[in-house]
Protein backbone atom coordinates (compact mmCIF):
# COMPACT_ATOMS: atom_id res chain seq x y z
CA UNK A 1 0.00 0.00 0.00
CA UNK A 2 1.44 3.36 -0.85
CA UNK A 3 0.69 6.42 1.17
CA UNK A 4 0.06 9.69 -0.52
CA UNK A 5 -0.88 12.81 1.28
CA UNK A 6 -2.22 15.60 -0.81
CA UNK A 7 -2.49 18.40 1.65
CA UNK A 8 -0.37 18.39 4.74
CA UNK A 9 -0.93 21.33 6.95
CA UNK A 10 1.96 23.22 8.44
CA UNK A 11 1.10 24.70 11.80
CA UNK A 12 2.74 25.80 14.96
CA UNK A 13 2.21 24.19 18.33
CA UNK A 14 0.10 23.79 20.30
CA UNK A 15 -2.03 21.86 17.86
CA UNK A 16 -4.83 21.36 20.35
CA UNK A 17 -7.33 23.94 21.45
CA UNK A 18 -9.69 23.95 24.39
CA UNK A 19 -13.25 23.89 23.12
CA UNK A 20 -14.64 27.24 24.36
CA UNK A 21 -14.36 30.19 22.06
CA UNK A 22 -15.23 33.80 22.59
CA UNK A 23 -18.38 33.80 20.48
CA UNK A 24 -19.57 30.64 22.23
CA UNK A 25 -19.11 32.31 25.62
CA UNK A 26 -21.01 35.38 24.49
CA UNK A 27 -23.82 33.34 23.01
CA UNK A 28 -24.20 31.43 26.25
CA UNK A 29 -24.45 34.68 28.18
CA UNK A 30 -27.29 35.65 25.86
CA UNK A 31 -28.98 32.32 26.59
CA UNK A 32 -28.50 32.84 30.29
CA UNK A 33 -30.14 36.24 30.05
CA UNK A 34 -33.24 35.02 28.24
CA UNK A 35 -35.04 33.74 31.36
CA UNK A 36 -34.35 37.04 33.11
CA UNK A 37 -35.81 38.92 30.15
CA UNK A 38 -38.83 36.65 30.02
CA UNK A 39 -39.53 37.17 33.67
CA UNK A 40 -39.19 40.93 33.22
CA UNK A 41 -41.80 40.89 30.46
CA UNK A 42 -44.04 38.75 32.63
CA UNK A 43 -43.70 41.20 35.53
CA UNK A 44 -43.85 44.52 33.76
CA UNK A 45 -45.65 43.75 30.55
CA UNK A 46 -45.43 45.08 27.04
CA UNK A 47 -43.32 48.12 27.93
CA UNK A 48 -40.54 45.90 29.24
CA UNK A 49 -40.75 43.83 26.07
CA UNK A 50 -40.34 46.90 23.87
CA UNK A 51 -37.48 48.12 26.02
CA UNK A 52 -35.65 44.82 25.74
CA UNK A 53 -36.10 45.06 21.99
CA UNK A 54 -35.04 48.68 21.59
CA UNK A 55 -31.80 48.88 23.57
CA UNK A 56 -30.14 45.82 22.00
CA UNK A 57 -31.25 46.95 18.57
CA UNK A 58 -29.67 50.35 19.13
CA UNK A 59 -26.46 48.70 20.35
CA UNK A 60 -26.18 46.30 17.47
CA UNK A 61 -26.95 48.97 14.87
CA UNK A 62 -24.43 51.34 16.41
CA UNK A 63 -21.74 48.68 16.39
CA UNK A 64 -22.51 47.80 12.79
CA UNK A 65 -22.53 51.46 11.79
CA UNK A 66 -19.14 52.22 13.30
CA UNK A 67 -17.57 49.11 11.83
CA UNK A 68 -18.77 50.22 8.42
CA UNK A 69 -17.43 53.74 8.92
CA UNK A 70 -14.04 52.36 9.91
CA UNK A 71 -14.16 50.11 6.86
CA UNK A 72 -13.89 46.99 9.00
CA UNK A 73 -15.83 43.79 8.91
CA UNK A 74 -18.88 44.09 11.11
CA UNK A 75 -18.31 42.62 14.55
CA UNK A 76 -21.93 42.17 15.57
CA UNK A 77 -21.41 38.44 15.01
CA UNK A 78 -19.55 38.04 18.27
CA UNK A 79 -22.79 38.79 20.17
CA UNK A 80 -21.07 41.10 22.64
CA UNK A 81 -23.02 44.14 21.46
CA UNK A 82 -26.19 42.15 21.90
CA UNK A 83 -25.25 41.38 25.50
CA UNK A 84 -24.49 45.02 26.12
CA UNK A 85 -27.92 45.97 24.81
CA UNK A 86 -29.80 43.36 26.80
CA UNK A 87 -27.99 44.20 30.00
CA UNK A 88 -28.57 47.90 29.43
CA UNK A 89 -32.28 47.29 28.99
CA UNK A 90 -32.38 45.15 32.11
CA UNK A 91 -30.92 47.96 34.18
CA UNK A 92 -33.43 50.58 33.03
CA UNK A 93 -36.84 51.22 34.57
CA UNK A 94 -39.59 49.49 32.57
CA UNK A 95 -41.42 52.70 31.80
CA UNK A 96 -38.42 54.57 30.38
CA UNK A 97 -39.25 56.26 27.07
CA UNK A 98 -37.93 54.07 24.28
CA UNK A 99 -36.07 56.95 22.70
CA UNK A 100 -34.01 57.30 25.84
CA UNK A 101 -33.20 53.60 25.77
CA UNK A 102 -32.03 54.02 22.18
CA UNK A 103 -29.84 56.94 23.21
CA UNK A 104 -28.44 54.76 25.99
CA UNK A 105 -27.69 51.97 23.55
CA UNK A 106 -25.91 54.34 21.23
CA UNK A 107 -23.84 55.83 24.03
CA UNK A 108 -22.98 52.37 25.41
CA UNK A 109 -21.42 51.25 22.18
CA UNK A 110 -20.12 54.52 20.79
CA UNK A 111 -18.65 56.00 23.95
CA UNK A 112 -18.24 52.82 25.95
CA UNK A 113 -16.77 50.49 23.38
CA UNK A 114 -16.01 51.64 19.82
CA UNK A 115 -14.07 54.65 21.00
CA UNK A 116 -11.60 52.37 22.72
CA UNK A 117 -11.16 50.04 19.79
CA UNK A 118 -14.04 47.59 20.16
CA UNK A 119 -14.40 44.21 21.78
CA UNK A 120 -12.13 43.59 24.70
CA UNK A 121 -10.45 46.96 24.72
CA UNK A 122 -12.96 49.03 26.66
CA UNK A 123 -11.81 49.97 30.15
CA UNK A 124 -15.38 50.44 31.37
CA UNK A 125 -18.43 48.23 31.19
CA UNK A 126 -20.23 49.58 28.10
CA UNK A 127 -23.73 48.88 29.35
CA UNK A 128 -23.02 50.79 32.53
CA UNK A 129 -21.45 53.68 30.66
CA UNK A 130 -24.73 53.92 28.79
CA UNK A 131 -26.77 53.70 31.95
CA UNK A 132 -24.62 56.22 33.83
CA UNK A 133 -25.06 58.60 30.92
CA UNK A 134 -28.84 58.18 31.00
CA UNK A 135 -28.89 58.56 34.77
CA UNK A 136 -27.04 61.83 34.54
CA UNK A 137 -28.92 63.08 31.50
CA UNK A 138 -32.48 62.16 32.46
CA UNK A 139 -32.39 61.77 36.23
CA UNK A 140 -36.16 62.05 36.64
CA UNK A 141 -37.22 59.58 33.99
CA UNK A 142 -34.73 57.03 35.17
CA UNK A 143 -35.97 57.14 38.74
CA UNK A 144 -39.64 56.84 37.84
CA UNK A 145 -40.78 53.34 38.65
CA UNK A 146 -43.77 51.26 37.76
CA UNK A 147 -45.18 48.50 39.94
CA UNK A 148 -44.56 44.79 39.53
CA UNK A 149 -47.77 43.51 37.99
CA UNK A 150 -47.78 40.18 39.71
CA UNK A 151 -48.87 38.47 41.87
CA UNK A 152 -51.30 41.15 43.05
CA UNK A 153 -52.51 42.14 39.60
CA UNK A 154 -53.24 39.18 37.40
CA UNK A 155 -54.88 41.09 34.62
CA UNK A 156 -53.37 40.34 31.25
CA UNK A 157 -53.90 43.96 30.24
CA UNK A 158 -50.22 44.50 30.75
CA UNK A 159 -49.45 42.47 27.67
CA UNK A 160 -51.61 44.58 25.44
CA UNK A 161 -51.03 48.05 26.92
CA UNK A 162 -47.87 50.05 27.22
CA UNK A 163 -47.08 52.32 30.11
CA UNK A 164 -47.65 55.88 29.02
CA UNK A 165 -44.09 57.22 28.93
CA UNK A 166 -42.80 54.31 26.86
CA UNK A 167 -43.90 55.81 23.58
CA UNK A 168 -42.98 59.44 24.29
CA UNK A 169 -41.83 61.26 21.18
CA UNK A 170 -38.08 61.34 20.66
CA UNK A 171 -36.34 64.18 22.50
CA UNK A 172 -39.62 65.24 24.04
CA UNK A 173 -40.49 65.18 27.69
CA UNK A 174 -41.87 61.98 29.08
CA UNK A 175 -45.53 61.86 29.94
CA UNK A 176 -46.22 63.14 33.42
CA UNK A 177 -45.67 60.99 36.43
CA UNK A 178 -49.37 60.83 37.22
CA UNK A 179 -50.02 59.09 33.94
CA UNK A 180 -47.47 56.41 34.54
CA UNK A 181 -49.66 53.83 36.11
CA UNK A 182 -52.81 54.98 34.47
CA UNK A 183 -53.72 52.31 31.97
CA UNK A 184 -53.42 49.54 34.50
CA UNK A 185 -54.84 51.52 37.41
CA UNK A 186 -52.92 49.90 40.20
CA UNK A 187 -54.03 51.11 43.57
CA UNK A 188 -51.71 52.37 46.21
CA UNK A 189 -48.48 52.31 44.22
CA UNK A 190 -46.14 54.79 45.83
CA UNK A 191 -43.69 55.00 42.96
CA UNK A 192 -40.84 53.80 45.11
CA UNK A 193 -38.59 50.78 44.88
CA UNK A 194 -37.67 48.73 47.96
CA UNK A 195 -34.39 50.64 48.04
CA UNK A 196 -35.93 54.12 48.07
CA UNK A 197 -38.43 53.00 50.66
CA UNK A 198 -35.62 51.74 52.81
CA UNK A 199 -33.42 54.74 52.26
CA UNK A 200 -35.93 57.50 52.70
CA UNK A 201 -38.70 55.93 54.83
CA UNK A 202 -36.92 53.00 56.51
CA UNK A 203 -39.55 50.60 55.28
CA UNK A 204 -38.41 47.03 54.82
CA UNK A 205 -39.72 44.75 52.08
CA UNK A 206 -40.44 41.09 52.67
CA UNK A 207 -37.68 38.65 51.83
CA UNK A 208 -39.74 36.52 49.49
CA UNK A 209 -40.93 39.52 47.46
CA UNK A 210 -37.34 40.58 47.07
CA UNK A 211 -35.94 37.17 46.36
CA UNK A 212 -38.51 36.19 43.76
CA UNK A 213 -39.00 39.62 42.28
CA UNK A 214 -42.45 40.86 43.22
CA UNK A 215 -41.24 44.42 43.61
CA UNK A 216 -40.90 47.49 41.43
CA UNK A 217 -37.41 48.16 40.14
CA UNK A 218 -35.31 48.13 37.01
CA UNK A 219 -36.59 45.80 34.31
CA UNK A 220 -34.29 42.87 34.99
CA UNK A 221 -33.03 43.37 38.50
CA UNK A 222 -36.02 42.29 40.54
CA UNK A 223 -35.67 38.52 40.81
CA UNK A 224 -32.52 37.66 42.72
CA UNK A 225 -33.47 34.00 42.47
CA UNK A 226 -33.58 33.90 38.70
CA UNK A 227 -30.38 35.89 38.30
CA UNK A 228 -28.53 33.53 40.61
CA UNK A 229 -29.89 30.56 38.73
CA UNK A 230 -28.82 31.88 35.33
CA UNK A 231 -25.44 32.94 36.72
CA UNK A 232 -24.96 29.46 38.14
CA UNK A 233 -25.46 28.04 34.67
CA UNK A 234 -22.66 30.19 33.28
CA UNK A 235 -20.38 29.37 36.17
CA UNK A 236 -21.10 25.68 35.68
CA UNK A 237 -20.14 26.01 32.03
CA UNK A 238 -16.95 27.76 33.21
CA UNK A 239 -17.85 30.77 31.11
CA UNK A 240 -17.89 33.13 34.02
CA UNK A 241 -15.46 33.69 36.81
CA UNK A 242 -17.32 32.58 39.95
CA UNK A 243 -14.95 34.49 42.16
CA UNK A 244 -16.28 37.90 41.14
CA UNK A 245 -19.97 37.40 42.06
CA UNK A 246 -18.95 35.55 45.19
CA UNK A 247 -16.50 38.28 46.17
CA UNK A 248 -18.93 41.13 45.50
CA UNK A 249 -21.78 39.46 47.31
CA UNK A 250 -19.77 38.42 50.31
CA UNK A 251 -18.06 41.75 50.83
CA UNK A 252 -21.43 43.52 50.51
CA UNK A 253 -22.93 41.05 52.95
CA UNK A 254 -20.18 41.50 55.52
CA UNK A 255 -20.12 45.27 55.38
CA UNK A 256 -23.88 45.63 55.58
CA UNK A 257 -24.00 43.08 58.39
CA UNK A 258 -21.57 45.31 60.24
CA UNK A 259 -23.77 48.37 59.74
CA UNK A 260 -26.84 46.40 60.69
CA UNK A 261 -25.19 45.18 63.87
CA UNK A 262 -24.34 48.76 64.79
CA UNK A 263 -27.81 50.21 64.23
CA UNK A 264 -30.48 47.71 63.19
CA UNK A 265 -33.21 50.35 63.16
CA UNK A 266 -31.29 52.65 60.83
CA UNK A 267 -29.63 50.35 58.37
CA UNK A 268 -31.04 47.55 56.22
CA UNK A 269 -30.46 43.91 57.12
CA UNK A 270 -27.76 42.21 55.02
CA UNK A 271 -30.18 40.01 53.10
CA UNK A 272 -32.10 43.08 52.07
CA UNK A 273 -28.85 44.55 50.78
CA UNK A 274 -28.13 41.48 48.69
CA UNK A 275 -31.56 40.97 47.16
CA UNK A 276 -32.65 44.56 46.60
CA UNK A 277 -31.79 46.88 43.76
CA UNK A 278 -29.26 45.98 41.14
CA UNK A 279 -26.92 44.15 43.50
CA UNK A 280 -27.52 40.68 42.09
CA UNK A 281 -27.72 41.68 38.43
CA UNK A 282 -24.59 43.81 38.87
CA UNK A 283 -22.59 41.25 40.80
CA UNK A 284 -23.50 38.30 38.63
CA UNK A 285 -23.66 39.71 35.12
CA UNK A 286 -21.92 43.08 35.10
CA UNK A 287 -19.05 43.03 37.56
CA UNK A 288 -18.14 39.69 36.03
CA UNK A 289 -17.55 41.11 32.57
CA UNK A 290 -13.97 40.01 32.17
CA UNK A 291 -13.10 42.89 29.89
CA UNK A 292 -13.18 45.45 32.67
CA UNK A 293 -12.09 43.23 35.52
CA UNK A 294 -8.60 42.22 36.61
CA UNK A 295 -7.15 38.91 35.46
CA UNK A 296 -4.69 38.24 38.21
CA UNK A 297 -5.83 35.83 40.94
CA UNK A 298 -5.36 38.28 43.79
CA UNK A 299 -6.61 41.19 41.70
CA UNK A 300 -9.98 39.57 41.14
CA UNK A 301 -10.64 39.43 44.87
CA UNK A 302 -9.52 42.98 45.45
CA UNK A 303 -11.77 44.17 42.64
CA UNK A 304 -14.78 42.24 43.87
CA UNK A 305 -14.33 43.36 47.46
CA UNK A 306 -14.00 46.95 46.35
CA UNK A 307 -17.24 46.80 44.38
CA UNK A 308 -19.20 45.25 47.22
CA UNK A 309 -17.87 47.70 49.76
CA UNK A 310 -18.41 50.81 47.64
CA UNK A 311 -21.96 49.73 46.83
CA UNK A 312 -22.89 49.35 50.47
CA UNK A 313 -21.14 52.59 51.39
CA UNK A 314 -23.09 54.56 48.80
CA UNK A 315 -26.35 52.90 49.79
CA UNK A 316 -25.87 53.39 53.50
CA UNK A 317 -23.97 56.65 53.79
CA UNK A 318 -24.41 58.26 50.40
CA UNK A 319 -27.06 60.48 48.91
CA UNK A 320 -28.33 57.91 46.45
CA UNK A 321 -30.43 54.86 47.15
CA UNK A 322 -28.34 52.64 44.85
CA UNK A 323 -24.63 52.49 44.15
CA UNK A 324 -23.79 49.28 42.31
CA UNK A 325 -23.48 50.98 38.94
CA UNK A 326 -21.02 53.56 40.22
CA UNK A 327 -19.17 50.91 42.20
CA UNK A 328 -18.64 48.74 39.13
CA UNK A 329 -17.50 51.70 37.04
CA UNK A 330 -15.03 52.60 39.78
CA UNK A 331 -13.90 48.99 39.94
CA UNK A 332 -13.35 49.11 36.17
CA UNK A 333 -11.37 52.33 36.59
CA UNK A 334 -9.13 50.73 39.20
CA UNK A 335 -8.60 47.54 37.18
CA UNK A 336 -5.42 48.57 35.34
CA UNK A 337 -3.85 49.59 38.62
CA UNK A 338 -4.98 46.42 40.36
CA UNK A 339 -3.61 44.31 37.52
CA UNK A 340 -0.31 46.08 37.66
CA UNK A 341 0.20 45.70 41.38
CA UNK A 342 -0.94 42.10 41.62
CA UNK A 343 1.13 40.61 38.83
CA UNK A 344 1.84 37.05 39.94
CA UNK A 345 5.42 36.31 40.85
CA UNK A 346 7.08 34.78 37.86
CA UNK A 347 8.53 31.28 38.32
CA UNK A 348 12.18 31.48 39.18
CA UNK A 349 12.16 35.08 40.34
CA UNK A 350 11.90 34.52 44.06
CA UNK A 351 13.62 37.25 46.00
CA UNK A 352 15.92 34.69 47.61
CA UNK A 353 16.68 33.26 44.21
CA UNK A 354 17.54 36.61 42.79
CA UNK A 355 19.93 37.35 45.58
CA UNK A 356 21.85 34.22 44.82
Amino acid sequence: MSVSVRAIELNTSPHFKAATSTDAIMLNVVYALIPVCAFAVFTFGLSAFLLILTAPLACVLTEHFFCRIAGKESTVGDYSALITGILLALTLPPSLPLWMAAVGGFVSIALGKTLFGGLGQNPFNPALVGRAFLQAAFPVAITTWSPALWPSVWSTDRFSHVLLPTLSLPFMKAETAAGYIHPLSVDGFSGATPLTMMKFEHVNTSFSSLFFGMTPGSTGETSAFLILLCGAYLMYRKMMDWRIPVGVISSAFLLSALFYALAPDKYPPPFFTLCSGGMMLGAVFMASDMVGSPFTPRGVWIYATLIGAVTVTIRVLGGLPEGIMYAILLGNAMTPLINLYTQPRVYGTHRELRNK
Binding site: L115, I314, L330, A333
Partner: protein, 194 residues
Amino acid sequence: MSQTSLLFIFIDSFIINNIVLMVFLGICPFLGVSGKLDTAFRMGVAVIFVLLVSSSMTYGLNLLLIKWHAEYLRIISYIVVIAATVQLVEMFIKKSSPGLFRALGIYLPLITTNCCVLGVAMFQTFREYNFAQSMVFSLGSGMGFTLALVIMAGIREQLNLADVPSIAKGTGIALMVAGILSMAFMGFAGLGTL
Protein backbone atom coordinates in the same frame (compact mmCIF):
# COMPACT_ATOMS: atom_id res chain seq x y z
CA MET B 1 -21.81 64.46 59.55
CA SER B 2 -21.21 68.13 60.09
CA GLN B 3 -20.05 69.90 56.98
CA THR B 4 -17.24 71.59 58.87
CA SER B 5 -15.89 68.45 60.51
CA LEU B 6 -12.40 67.59 59.42
CA LEU B 7 -13.40 64.12 58.29
CA PHE B 8 -16.14 65.50 56.10
CA ILE B 9 -13.90 68.14 54.57
CA PHE B 10 -11.39 65.45 53.78
CA ILE B 11 -13.86 63.06 52.17
CA ASP B 12 -15.55 65.90 50.34
CA SER B 13 -12.35 67.18 48.78
CA PHE B 14 -10.95 63.70 48.18
CA ILE B 15 -13.78 61.96 46.37
CA ILE B 16 -17.15 63.73 46.52
CA ASN B 17 -16.09 67.00 44.98
CA ASN B 18 -12.88 65.67 43.50
CA ILE B 19 -10.80 68.63 42.50
CA VAL B 20 -10.12 67.34 39.01
CA LEU B 21 -13.25 65.45 38.07
CA MET B 22 -15.88 67.59 39.76
CA VAL B 23 -14.38 71.03 40.34
CA PHE B 24 -12.24 71.25 37.20
CA LEU B 25 -8.97 72.34 38.69
CA GLY B 26 -5.62 71.01 37.57
CA ILE B 27 -6.95 69.71 34.28
CA CYS B 28 -3.85 70.59 32.29
CA PRO B 29 -1.50 68.35 34.27
CA PHE B 30 -4.31 65.81 34.50
CA LEU B 31 -4.32 65.60 30.71
CA GLY B 32 -0.65 66.34 30.21
CA VAL B 33 1.14 64.19 32.78
CA SER B 34 -1.13 61.15 32.84
CA GLY B 35 0.56 59.21 30.07
CA LYS B 36 2.78 57.18 32.38
CA LEU B 37 1.82 55.76 35.74
CA ASP B 38 5.14 56.35 37.35
CA THR B 39 5.31 59.99 36.32
CA ALA B 40 1.71 60.52 37.30
CA PHE B 41 2.27 59.22 40.78
CA ARG B 42 5.30 61.42 41.30
CA MET B 43 3.48 64.45 39.99
CA GLY B 44 0.69 63.67 42.44
CA VAL B 45 3.03 63.45 45.38
CA ALA B 46 4.70 66.69 44.37
CA VAL B 47 1.30 68.40 44.19
CA ILE B 48 0.24 67.13 47.62
CA PHE B 49 3.47 68.45 49.02
CA VAL B 50 3.23 71.86 47.39
CA LEU B 51 -0.45 72.16 48.29
CA LEU B 52 0.22 71.59 51.96
CA VAL B 53 3.04 74.10 52.09
CA SER B 54 1.42 76.74 49.94
CA SER B 55 -1.95 76.57 51.59
CA SER B 56 -0.44 77.04 55.02
CA MET B 57 1.47 80.04 53.64
CA THR B 58 -1.58 81.58 52.03
CA TYR B 59 -3.60 80.94 55.16
CA GLY B 60 -1.18 83.12 57.12
CA LEU B 61 -0.99 85.63 54.31
CA ASN B 62 -4.75 85.97 54.26
CA LEU B 63 -4.79 86.78 57.97
CA LEU B 64 -2.36 89.62 57.29
CA LEU B 65 -4.36 90.87 54.30
CA ILE B 66 -7.51 91.00 56.40
CA LYS B 67 -5.70 92.76 59.19
CA TRP B 68 -4.32 95.39 56.81
CA HIS B 69 -7.60 95.67 54.89
CA ALA B 70 -5.76 94.88 51.69
CA GLU B 71 -7.99 92.13 50.31
CA TYR B 72 -7.67 93.65 46.86
CA LEU B 73 -4.09 92.41 46.80
CA ARG B 74 -5.20 88.82 47.40
CA ILE B 75 -4.75 87.41 43.91
CA ILE B 76 -1.45 89.08 43.27
CA SER B 77 0.02 88.25 46.65
CA TYR B 78 -1.21 84.66 46.59
CA ILE B 79 0.37 83.95 43.25
CA VAL B 80 3.64 85.54 44.28
CA VAL B 81 3.70 83.57 47.51
CA ILE B 82 2.87 80.35 45.69
CA ALA B 83 5.59 80.89 43.12
CA ALA B 84 8.08 81.70 45.84
CA THR B 85 6.98 78.67 47.87
CA VAL B 86 7.48 76.36 44.97
CA GLN B 87 10.95 77.81 44.45
CA LEU B 88 11.79 77.37 48.10
CA VAL B 89 10.42 73.85 48.21
CA GLU B 90 12.50 73.04 45.18
CA MET B 91 15.66 74.45 46.73
CA PHE B 92 14.96 72.77 50.03
CA ILE B 93 14.41 69.37 48.48
CA LYS B 94 17.47 69.76 46.32
CA LYS B 95 19.60 70.41 49.39
CA SER B 96 18.06 67.97 51.79
CA SER B 97 17.18 65.01 49.63
CA PRO B 98 18.82 64.67 46.22
CA GLY B 99 16.97 61.39 45.68
CA LEU B 100 13.58 63.00 46.15
CA PHE B 101 14.71 65.91 44.00
CA ARG B 102 15.59 63.60 41.19
CA ALA B 103 12.15 62.01 41.48
CA LEU B 104 10.08 65.17 41.83
CA GLY B 105 12.38 67.94 40.65
CA ILE B 106 11.14 68.47 37.14
CA TYR B 107 7.52 68.58 38.22
CA LEU B 108 7.87 71.35 40.74
CA PRO B 109 8.20 74.30 38.33
CA LEU B 110 5.21 73.01 36.39
CA ILE B 111 3.12 73.14 39.51
CA THR B 112 3.38 76.90 39.81
CA THR B 113 1.18 77.27 36.79
CA ASN B 114 -1.13 74.51 37.90
CA CYS B 115 -4.33 76.16 38.81
CA CYS B 116 -5.24 73.70 41.52
CA VAL B 117 -2.70 75.25 43.85
CA LEU B 118 -4.12 78.74 43.51
CA GLY B 119 -7.61 77.30 43.34
CA VAL B 120 -7.29 75.46 46.64
CA ALA B 121 -5.90 78.60 48.27
CA MET B 122 -8.84 80.62 46.92
CA PHE B 123 -11.44 78.08 48.00
CA GLN B 124 -10.11 77.81 51.51
CA THR B 125 -10.26 81.58 51.74
CA PHE B 126 -13.79 81.86 50.34
CA ARG B 127 -15.04 79.10 52.62
CA GLU B 128 -13.39 80.75 55.61
CA TYR B 129 -11.71 77.56 56.76
CA ASN B 130 -9.59 77.71 59.90
CA PHE B 131 -6.04 76.47 59.81
CA ALA B 132 -6.75 72.79 60.53
CA GLN B 133 -9.60 72.76 58.04
CA SER B 134 -7.38 74.37 55.43
CA MET B 135 -4.70 71.79 55.87
CA VAL B 136 -7.14 68.89 55.70
CA PHE B 137 -8.78 70.48 52.68
CA SER B 138 -5.50 70.78 50.83
CA LEU B 139 -4.46 67.28 51.81
CA GLY B 140 -7.78 65.88 50.56
CA SER B 141 -7.57 67.93 47.36
CA GLY B 142 -4.02 66.81 46.74
CA MET B 143 -4.89 63.20 47.31
CA GLY B 144 -7.97 63.54 45.13
CA PHE B 145 -5.78 64.98 42.41
CA THR B 146 -3.34 62.10 42.77
CA LEU B 147 -6.14 59.53 42.75
CA ALA B 148 -7.63 60.91 39.55
CA LEU B 149 -4.23 61.24 37.93
CA VAL B 150 -3.14 57.73 38.81
CA ILE B 151 -6.40 56.13 37.68
CA MET B 152 -6.17 58.03 34.44
CA ALA B 153 -2.56 56.99 33.92
CA GLY B 154 -3.41 53.34 34.53
CA ILE B 155 -6.17 53.47 31.97
CA ARG B 156 -4.08 55.33 29.44
CA GLU B 157 -1.22 52.86 29.76
CA GLN B 158 -3.69 50.10 29.06
CA LEU B 159 -5.16 52.00 26.13
CA ASN B 160 -1.71 52.24 24.58
CA LEU B 161 -2.18 48.59 23.74
CA ALA B 162 -5.71 49.05 22.39
CA ASP B 163 -6.82 49.99 18.88
CA VAL B 164 -8.08 53.46 19.73
CA PRO B 165 -9.26 55.12 16.51
CA SER B 166 -6.63 57.54 15.24
CA ILE B 167 -8.93 60.55 15.45
CA ALA B 168 -9.38 59.98 19.17
CA LYS B 169 -5.77 59.31 20.14
CA GLY B 170 -4.29 61.59 22.76
CA THR B 171 -6.36 64.32 24.34
CA GLY B 172 -9.65 63.28 22.81
CA ILE B 173 -9.71 59.86 24.39
CA ALA B 174 -8.34 61.22 27.67
CA LEU B 175 -11.25 63.65 27.88
CA MET B 176 -13.75 60.92 27.17
CA VAL B 177 -12.25 58.72 29.88
CA ALA B 178 -12.32 61.70 32.21
CA GLY B 179 -16.00 62.19 31.38
CA ILE B 180 -16.79 58.58 32.26
CA LEU B 181 -14.71 58.81 35.43
CA SER B 182 -16.56 61.95 36.36
CA MET B 183 -19.86 60.09 35.90
CA ALA B 184 -18.54 57.30 38.12
CA PHE B 185 -17.55 59.73 40.85
CA MET B 186 -21.08 61.16 40.81
CA GLY B 187 -22.02 58.10 42.83
CA PHE B 188 -20.39 59.64 45.86
CA ALA B 189 -22.57 62.75 45.73
CA GLY B 190 -24.32 63.39 48.96
CA LEU B 191 -22.08 61.01 50.89
CA GLY B 192 -22.43 61.69 54.58
CA THR B 193 -25.38 64.08 54.31
CA LEU B 194 -28.29 61.81 55.02
